[in-house]
Amino acid sequence: MFLIKKNEVLKLAQELEKSYAVYGPVVEKESGQAFLTKVDSVNDIDLNAPIPALPPKSVVFPQIEKILGYKYDRNSKNVDIKMVVVPQAKAIFGLRSCDLAGIQCLDRFFLGQEFVDDVYLLHRKQMFIVTNTCTKPFAQCFCACTDSGPSAKEGYDLNLTDIGDSYLIEVGSDKGKELCEKMGLQKSEAAHAAEKVKVVDKSLDSFEKEAVENKAWISRVMNRITTGFIKPQVWEFIGDQCFECGACSFVCPSCSCFNIEDFNKPDTAVDRMREWDSCSFEGYTRMAGDHNPRKPIEDRRNKRFFCKLSYSQSKKYLRPGCVGCGRCAWVCPGDIGLPNVVTYVRREITEREINE
């Protein structure tokens, strides 16, 4: 473990800039909203920024991306197929622990199943991640309920924790260690590690007071959702509030459904693009000939909650699919973000009646 002075912490990002395209939380002046973007200057990075509006999945799994390009000449019948290579190495600086958990979910899903997603792998294999411990939860946070915060436990290259006048740097990989040694950073002492434990404990203790918007007692409902022991009326009640906008899927750090489409360009070239998709859309399962095995919205809507909270899905991710960032509750126009759904299900469990 190493130490770096508070006013020098961005030197780490400067060092990373030499070999990576650096992404970090930047606060937009007019709105006060934070965005995780590629930074022009590392001095724009604000480590105290609130949770970025969009999750970091846009860095490893862009919203729309070309995965294949081909040219097909109908006259000569020549086909020329080219896989698109993404050569740029990326570093994320100042990632929150919930968002790192989201990236880990994507890793386990895209790389850990029967097939490896080669496009995702191209993005992911040359990445440097610096996480940042949350010393204080934000209003919409519930990472304490989903075991993904306030401090990252694994999966980072370096983890920063604000311990007063300096940042404690925990090393999570050889790459991370090399960087710290190269910069000649000061080694930390046992007292600093103890200080970090205090910071994390204090952060956890302040959830009751600070994280007032969401409460999601996830472990209580996972069993119910897995066994399907929930009344259809509850799903109907939840489905009735869904506007089918798909926003919850787009801002979720662990949602990974995508669509693939071929786009013809003016010349004979065609781009095969993949783009984020959402299971709440009606066309999501519609087949050729207009046969759609899922019809009512409540039938489509509950798929997302099965995906996030059932045991069988959790086995794929080795954790619940929800990472407790609170973004879905933030954007949902119908007030059925995941924390609220958990509340509805819990209420049903205890009261056995959704509308008394």
Partner: protein
Amino acid sequence: MSEYKVITVPEVAVIKEIKKEIEDTSTFYLEFENPEVAKNFKIKSGQFIMCTIFGAGEFAVSLPPSPENDRFHISVRAAGKVTKVLHSLQPGDKVGIRGPFGNGFPFDEIKGKNVIYVAGGIGIIPLRSSIVHVLQHRNEFGRVIVLYGARTPQDLMYNYNIDEWRKIEGVEIYTTIDSPAPGWKYEVGFVNTLVEKAKVPVDNSVAFVCGPPIMFNSVIKDLVNRGMREENIISTLERHMKCGIGKCQHCAIGRTLVCTDGPVYTYKQIKTLGEQI
């Protein structure tokens, strides 16, 4: 993470011949451009491929050829945006192929058993591979029964194959159409009535069922009523698919993905999935 197969890039295949089967369905005989790919392309009955129509998109399609000694082909109905473009292609045009994907029908487990195929309309396409494969190994099975129904005589797929199968000894072929038609010398009525007529055995038997949902449900009911066990009824499901490798999630039904866990399921499994067929 070190070893991986590039699965997003399709292999190019040439359309060698197009055979019109029924009104909106044709069979396309394909050949890979690269002989190396053709040599390594091994399929299992019941698997599917992702087929790219250049400039239009990609669709999932089941494989009707037998894994052994059969010409590589696909049979496709012009049902959607991409498949309609496929039907406008001519021999010599090229398509892209990814796959094969999916689990496939059990072949070794059903050896020694009676094998019953029940198909409705173009539901025979995914079953053809298994039928031909079983007929190629006829003496390894008990009774082999094929029950096939369509709306009219013009809606029967693979007429030329069925005529050949009728000649093979020890294969019971029943075909039926919905209502009488001039010149039709076989059965009349829905395909589930054949279950009774053929005296389908239920002990030591496996039934493969594929067809439109309404036919599927009535056949299953009749088979179960006769005493067929639910785990011995096997079907193959169709879903909207984009990737074929378990990533896009479009084919998710409950906890399974049709592309990697399926498309072949037993009725016992289908029943627990909790979605329409």
